[in-house]
């Protein structure tokens, strides 16, 4: 009864094309954002550091990949490496120009991954489907190799790792060892909200329509005047931008440091799984998928021992990891069979039901 559009008339095309045409939706989003900020102030360090920060970062990476796979229909297996490009670019920028604020560099680093993404996206004009997926593997393995074998990228550190130096925002440390989880969380949250808003504008406008046109019927899209290479490269650029920023945030606002193998192919796959489960071509699905895939091992770690311990069986961390692989794999197949549009579609169906509740006929 509460969730209704009745009585909300749209009198202009401006109002009709809003992202959240329903008042209830707008209120809901506002409440969620407010709660997210409140969590930063009242949440425990564990909640922030182990759950919310990585959730937000993975969500952003998933949004990036969703632009490419879900909206433009170009399958990429190189997400991990593009995150790496963002992270290493950010590291180089930070250490070369320490006087500029780190948030600026995190946002700038995305442009580097965008450029690299465009380069590796060039073959997408001639090849599609599986072929393109294999081509992106070239990016994955080549870039990962670069992070390891080109010492200039990690400033010739003996350890071969990159580490977040101490930096501040408004006098509060946000990267490095002394930065509190709270400060980092608030930065991450703000950046993710801002970037999600930009992504949402993109996919709801002309560029988003062009991507979907290319995805649904590339020949027809070209025949109505969409330049395929232009649209596809734009998708690679935008996608890699978000992915790269997510990578930079991952290293500087979450891990505090990283080695080349953080950005391996498993990382690529898990982000791909997030969007398959969450819903291809859906921004809210990116958040849901990230939540499910990322929270799964945490949940398993809590739930499994609780079930098995009374029977005297101890579950090791390795077993949980194996189970996680199994469950994720099974979930992928399950969602592809039962609901190829992922959690986002289930969410929509739920809303639809709520709209007519309690009188469905």
């Amino acid at each position: 009864m509460i969730y209704r559009e009745s009585g909300q008339y749209k009198t202009s095309y401006e109002a009709d094309r809003a992202v959240f045409p329903l008042r209830q939706d707008r209120i809901g989003i506002a409440v969620i954002i407010a709660a997210a900020y409140a969590a930063g102030v009242f949440g425990s360090d564990f909640l922030l550091q182990a759950v919310l920060i990585p959730f937000l970062i993975f969500s952003l990476a998933a949004i990036g990949l969703n632009i490419l796979v879900g909206y433009a229909g170009l399958l990429s297996l190189g997400t991990g490496a593009f995150m790496g490009v963002g992270a290493y670019a950010c590291y180089k920028l930070m250490t070369a120009f320490p006087e500029v604020n780190v948030v600026v560099w995190i946002l700038m680093s995305g442009f580097f991954s965008a450029a690299v993404g465009v380069f590796f996206g060039l073959p997408s004009l001639r090849i599609k489907g599986f072929y393109l997926a294999v081509a992106t593997l070239a990016a994955q393995f080549f870039l990962q190799w670069s992070f390891n074998r080109i010492p200039w990228l990690y400033n010739y550190n003996i350890s071969g790792a990159i580490e977040a130096p101490l930096t501040t925002l408004f006098g509060v440390p946000i990267t490095g060892a002394t930065a509190t989880a709270e400060a980092r969380y608030l930065v991450v949250l703000t950046l993710v909200i801002g970037l999600t808003w930009l992504a949402s504008n993109l996919v709801h406008g002309r560029i988003g329509r062009q991507w979907m046109a290319i995805r649904d019927m590339d020949i027809a899209a070209e025949l109505i005047g969409i330049r395929p290479l232009h649209a596809k490269l734009m998708a690679f650029a935008c996608s890699s931008y978000f992915v790269g920023v997510a990578g930079a945030m991952m290293v500087f606002l979450w891990y505090g440091g990283a080695e080349y193998n953080v950005f391996n192919i498993d990382q690529s796959f898990f982000i791909l799984f997030m969007i398959i489960i969450g819903g291809l071509g859906s921004l809210i699905g990116s958040f849901m998928g990230a939540a499910l895939i990322f929270m799964l091992p945490i949940g398993l770690g809590i739930v499994l021992p609780a079930i098995t311990e009374p029977f005297g069986i101890t579950v090791g961390a390795a077993t949980i990891e194996h189970l996680r692989f199994m469950i994720v794999g099974a979930l992928i197949i399950f969602f592809l069979i039962v609901e190829p549009h992922g959690l986002a579609r289930l969410w929509q169906i739920g809303k639809q039901k709520l709209r007519v509740w309690p009188f469905p006929y």
Partner: protein, 288 residues
């Protein structure tokens, strides 16, 4: 049996649905005298050893409705594909608006003012009717990436302005009730209509229709014929159409070109084509 029916239809176009609906248009005698919009000269097209088109020449004049007919596999769709740059003729040339081109990409053809619908509906299945038609406006939208990112200023103004145009098309095609429906869920006849809408959104000078009435029932065919005539008369759009329903073709078009096995066998007004012995042979078959 089939061949017989066809001949009857060729011989008796007045029995065609459009004529019954009272929408018959007398072929305008001046069609042949107008300015040439598109000229196809000696075009041949081959794929490896297979020749899809051999030495075909014809022209399309401003403001006319030009039909391309012929039996299955005659090369009609290949011809349209050549015109809008999806295939490149192996020989010959195509001149559009006085410009001859060797290799033109489809999006360049679109920018030049050629729009197209497809034999098997080629809509963007994941998008709504509105978005499908809006996509047809892509070429006319200019707001840059920055404004689109912030969804403000020029981007919004542009969206609204084009939305208005798109709504006009939606009204014209009488499909406002399916504005927000994903096109994948629409029945076939409506999908064809949306596809026409998408092509119209491009405000083309030349509209290519590949079997706009295939698989439609009588009523839908009448509607579609009406839309085609309206587009031609109200917007002055030049139309080239492929259609199997000979009755419809004879009623709608000003001039007809007939292809068989990739060759042109006849060209002229519907009445001339109807009387042409080669055409009758092509449709009926010749005893060997």
């Amino acid at each position: 049996m089939n061949a017989n029916t066809t001949v009857e239809r060729v011989a008796a176009p007045q029995a065609a649905p459009v004529a019954q609906g009272g929408a018959a248009v007398v072929a305008r005698p001046d069609a042949a005298a107008r300015e040439v919009l598109l000229a196809v000269e000696n075009v041949s097209l081959g794929f490896g050893g297979v020749k899809a088109l051999t030495d075909v020449s014809f022209d399309i004049r401003k403001g006319e409705i030009r039909a391309i007919i012929g039996p299955n596999g005659a090369g009609k769709t290949s011809m349209l594909n050549c015109i809008n740059g999806f295939y490149h003729p192996t020989e010959g040339r195509i001149t559009f608006k006085g410009e001859t081109r060797q290799k033109m990409r489809p999006h360049e053809a679109a920018a030049g003012g050629i729009a197209r619908t497809f034999q098997n509906v080629a809509l963007f299945k994941g998008m709504s009717t509105l978005d499908n038609i809006m996509t047809g406006r892509s070429l006319k939208m200019r707001a840059n990436l920055f404004w689109q990112l912030v969804r403000f200023g020029p981007a919004t103004r542009e969206e609204v302005e084009h939305r208005r145009k798109v709504e006009d098309i939606i009204d014209f095609l009488q499909i406002p009730h399916i504005r927000k429906t994903p096109v994948g869920k629409l029945p076939y006849g409506l999908q064809k209509r949306v596809e026409l809408g998408r092509a119209l959104a491009m405000e083309p000078e030349l509209l290519l229709l590949d079997e706009p009435m295939a698989g439609m029932n009588l009523e839908e065919k009448e509607d579609m014929s009406r839309f085609i005539l309206d587009v031609n008369q109200e917007f002055g759009t030049t139309i080239a159409l492929i259609e199997h329903d000979t009755g419809v073709v004879m009623d709608l078009s000003d001039r007809v070109v007939v292809l068989e096995y990739g060759r042109k066998i006849a060209d002229g007004t519907p009445d001339e084509v109807k009387a042409n012995q080669a055409v009758i042979d092509a449709y009926l078959g010749v005893p060997h």
